[in-house]
């Protein structure tokens, strides 16, 4: 059946010769019928297309726990098609599509629509995130169970962009998702402390006269939420942790055995609020860029496991939302096509983390948080062939106009970055080859009976 899913007439078999698996010794990987068929030395090609993997690193396909695909509703910013092309090019085989679309993904109908759009595109697994509250309004729980039971089988719920600030509502959400092994992904931002906030509150905001977004507004919500998660025995995920103080709270919570996971974005691992001195809104993001001390704490926390995953918070915006005054500009940065390189630059080239650690924070753990059975798996025979090949020695200069995403709002524009995705295999199919988009994976037509099979992508 897998071969029927291919639209190229190829055998669907690929032999990767001599790639360094997770940065270890060079080995061959044989991909056939959507699976890793064999791993070892001097494997027989047996009709498979041979890919020279020398100098390349083989990693599990990356899983983004935090992506904004904008569709439905803001197709002028991004579509599922363009966003997932960007994801494939960036080395992703799965993305979690955040719920702040228009309409909000707060019903089974919307999450199923996003799922279908993702499958029609075929570049990566699109896993819809369900809203916690109706319309992200923070007043009434959305139909979490209906979304969990839908074809989209939602497990991650988030009002991202807005904090579930009402403590009672947050408690109820944490309790309720236990019924279907869900997780609440919190955008930690105390709203009253951040009214009109434009940038990190500190030395730079004082000079620039921009309203401050104090670290305490993030840290106080995280502190409250980990205590709530402990109290009701539920699972909490903290989106885009941005401060050194937040790291300390998460570390404390984990030491107490609280079931909390935390995420950091690539941009918070590198950029600081000093960049805001330019008043260029490409650096406007929520949570805001912080100080160098925060950056160093976040890197250390990602290395030691206090922060579990890298999430891009890929947030494309039309250019008119950035070509304006700082205060008028939209918050957000693109990230799917630069994440690997930025993490390599900030974590691997600095010696803080190895490629096995990279696989943990970009694939294994985010897949586990999202309960994606087929993603973030070991590169072993019998496992689904979600695999990427990375050239760690490559260097490239970021040019947003050449990206697959519709968003041109990359804060890394003009910077030279290390590391390039050479190939992405999604369910054994090369969505990216030679660093360029190849063809999408073709899902079988959906029927009630084939649902499980199609979802698993196996013959």
């Amino acid at each position: 059946m897998a071969s029927q899913q291919q639209d190229t007439g190829s055998t669907g078999a690929y032999l990767i010769r001599g790639a360094s698996v997770l940065g270890g010794a060079a080995e061959d990987l044989l991909i056939r019928d959507g699976l890793i068929a064999a791993r070892g030395e001097d494997l027989e090609a047996d009709g498979a297309t041979v890919i020279d993997g020398r100098g390349l690193i083989a990693l599990p396909g990356m899983v983004d726990i935090h992506t904004h695909l904008r569709e439905p509703g803001r197709e002028d910013a991004e579509t599922v098609e363009t966003g997932t092309r960007a994801a494939a090019l960036g080395g992703y085989t799965a993305v979690h599509a955040m719920a702040n679309s228009t309409p909000v993904a707060d019903t089974a109908g919307v999450v199923e629509q996003v799922l279908s759009l993702g499958r029609a595109a075929g570049w990566v697994d699109v896993r819809p995130v369900g809203a916690v509250t109706v319309g992200l309004a923070g007043e009434q729980l959305a139909e979490l169970g209906a979304m969990a039971d839908s074809r989209a089988r939602v497990r991650v719920f988030s009002d991202d962009g807005v904090c579930v600030s009402d403590p009672v509502l947050m408690r109820r959400a944490l309790e309720y998702v236990k019924a279907f092994d869900g997780v609440v992904a919190q955008h930690a931002q105390e709203p009253r402390l951040t009214a009109g906030a434009q940038m990190n509150e500190g030395v730079v905001s004082a000079v620039l006269g921009l309203t401050g977004w104090p670290a305490v507004a993030e840290e106080s919500i995280i502190a409250r939420d980990v205590l709530l998660a402990q109290h009701v025995g539920s699972r909490l995920h903290v989106c885009h942790v941005s401060t050194a103080g937040s790291v300390e709270i998460v570390r404390w919570a984990k030491s107490r055995g609280i079931n909390v996971t935390a995420e950091v974005t690539p941009h918070h691992l590198w950029l600081t609020d000093e960049l805001v001195r330019s008043y260029d809104p490409v650096y406007k993001v929520n949570p805001p860029l912080r100080t160098d001390a925060d950056v160093q704490a976040l890197r250390a926390a990602l290395a030691d496991g206090t922060i579990d995953v890298v999430g891009t918070d890929h947030a494309p915006h039309p250019s008119e939302h950035k070509e304006c005054e700082w205060a008028q500009a939209a918050m957000g940065m693109t990230g799917l096509e630069t994440a690997l390189s930025v993490v390599q630059h900030t974590m691997i080239d600095t010696g803080l983390m190895d490629w096995a650690g990279f696989a943990r924070v970009t694939s294994t753990t985010p897949a586990a948080i999202g309960r994606l059975a087929d993603q973030g798996r070991p590169l072993e025979p019998g496992e689904p062939a979600n695999v990427i090949l990375v050239d760690p020695a490559a260097r490239w200069t970021v040019d947003p106009s050449k990206m697959a995403t519709m968003g041109r709002n990359s804060p890394f524009a003009g910077r030279e970055l290390p590391g390039k995705v050479v190939a992405t295999f999604f369910k054994g199919h090369p969505t990216v080859l030679n660093g360029e988009l190849n063809t999408p994976y073709r899902w079988l037509p959906e029927t009630a009976d084939s649902e499980e099979t199609a979802a698993a992508g196996r013959p």
Binding site: A206, G209, L210, E320
Partner: protein, 332 residues
């Protein structure tokens, strides 16, 4: 100097040059024909996204005394959703051939956007942006202080700075672009600045500024000041819990009659009282203080025209003398 956006990165030589040029311009204001032909045929646009009659007419008078053509563009209530974007406005002005844009904007950094994007090629003068900077206000304040300081020393103003002068700035520093611009410029000119405010009206991070912080106006006066500048306080700050009531504010941080009398008692006979206007009489400054011989409020207004003439002249006259310290951003 291509633009005048901030005093934070305005070097000493440029600052002195603007002040000295303003002295020359002030002489024009004393003549029967208050007009120079320097900017004949040049177009200056006053682009005001925020109401400010005083600043606008000051720039208008300055440009007209230099014979420039002046266009006033009031873009009130502009926002992306409601009206034309800043980019479109700027490109429109560029297409009309504006040589200089004097911009007042409620958003901090808007003048920087005009100056650093390719939307418009004109010289940009910041006439106050959000809670960021108001460089011509600081320059006219420094001009006023320099005349006073030089007069006390019995030396000419031209070429002088403010070395050793003690300046207190009291009030809503958090929301004040005037305070920010003054702190940087007075630092550059050698004055010693003390900011006096309730802790709620000082920005987090103020401890890094090149000045002293005080919560106590009386103590600051008792230590001796040569100029006290009162900042305008908006009554609505009270509703956001920055202070309990306007009466309490006035008692603790207002320059009232008691504090006016205390200057005599403290032997501060030459201390001047400044205010950027418009004043809330009875709130941050009493009428007796505002109208006393110490008050420089009207001199500041008068000097404002000279400073703005100097800024327009230096940016537009084709004066190609290389500024000595234009690019050296001093650390602080």
């Amino acid at each position: 100097m291509k633009h005048l956006l901030a005093t934070e990165d305005l070097g000493y030589a440029d600052a002195i040059r603007i002040l000295d040029t303003a002295e020359e311009m002030a002489a024009v204001g004393d003549r029967e024909v208050k007009k120079l032909p320097a900017l004949r045929g040049r177009t200056v646009v006053n682009l005001f996204f925020e109401d400010s009659t005083r600043t606008r007419i000051s720039f208008e008078a300055a440009a007209k005394r230099l014979s420039a053509d002046v266009i006033n563009f009031a873009a009130k209530g502009s926002s992306v959703s409601k009206g034309e974007s800043l980019k479109d406005t700027a490109q429109t002005l560029a297409a009309m051939g504006a040589d200089a844009v004097v911009i007042r904007h409620w958003a901090s950094g808007a003048p920087h956007r005009l100056a650093t994007t390719d939307w418009i090629d004109a010289a940009v003068i910041n006439a106050g942006d959000g809670t960021h900077e108001h460089p011509t206000q600081a320059l006219l304040d420094a001009f006023t202080m320099r005349r006073h300081w030089s007069k006390l020393a019995g030396t000419p103003s031209a070429g002088a700075d403010l070395q050793g002068m003690r300046v207190a700035i009291a009030g809503d520093v958090l929301h004040s672009r005037v305070a920010r611009s003054n702190v940087w410029l007075l630092r550059t000119l050698g004055a010693k600045v003390t900011l006096v405010a309730p802790p709620t009206l000082l920005p987090v991070g103020v401890e890094q500024w090149p000045c002293t912080i005080s919560y106590d106006l009386d103590e600051t006066l008792a230590r001796g000041v040569d100029a006290i500048m009162m900042l305008r306080v908006q009554g609505e700050r009270m509703n956001a819990s920055f202070f309990p009531s306007t009466r309490e504010y006035s008692r603790r941080w207002g320059f009232d009659d008691n504090r006016l009398r205390s200057l005599e008692r403290l032997g501060l006979k030459d201390t001047i009282i400044m205010h950027p206007g418009p004043m809330n009489r009875g709130l941050e400054i009493s009428s007796a203080a505002a109208d006393s011989p110490r008050s420089t409020v009207l001199a500041q207004v008068r000097n404002g025209v000279s400073i703005r003439m100097a800024a327009l002249y230096l940016l537009l006259s084709g004066d190609t003398r290389e500024p000595a310290t234009n690019s050296t951003k001093e650390s602080h």
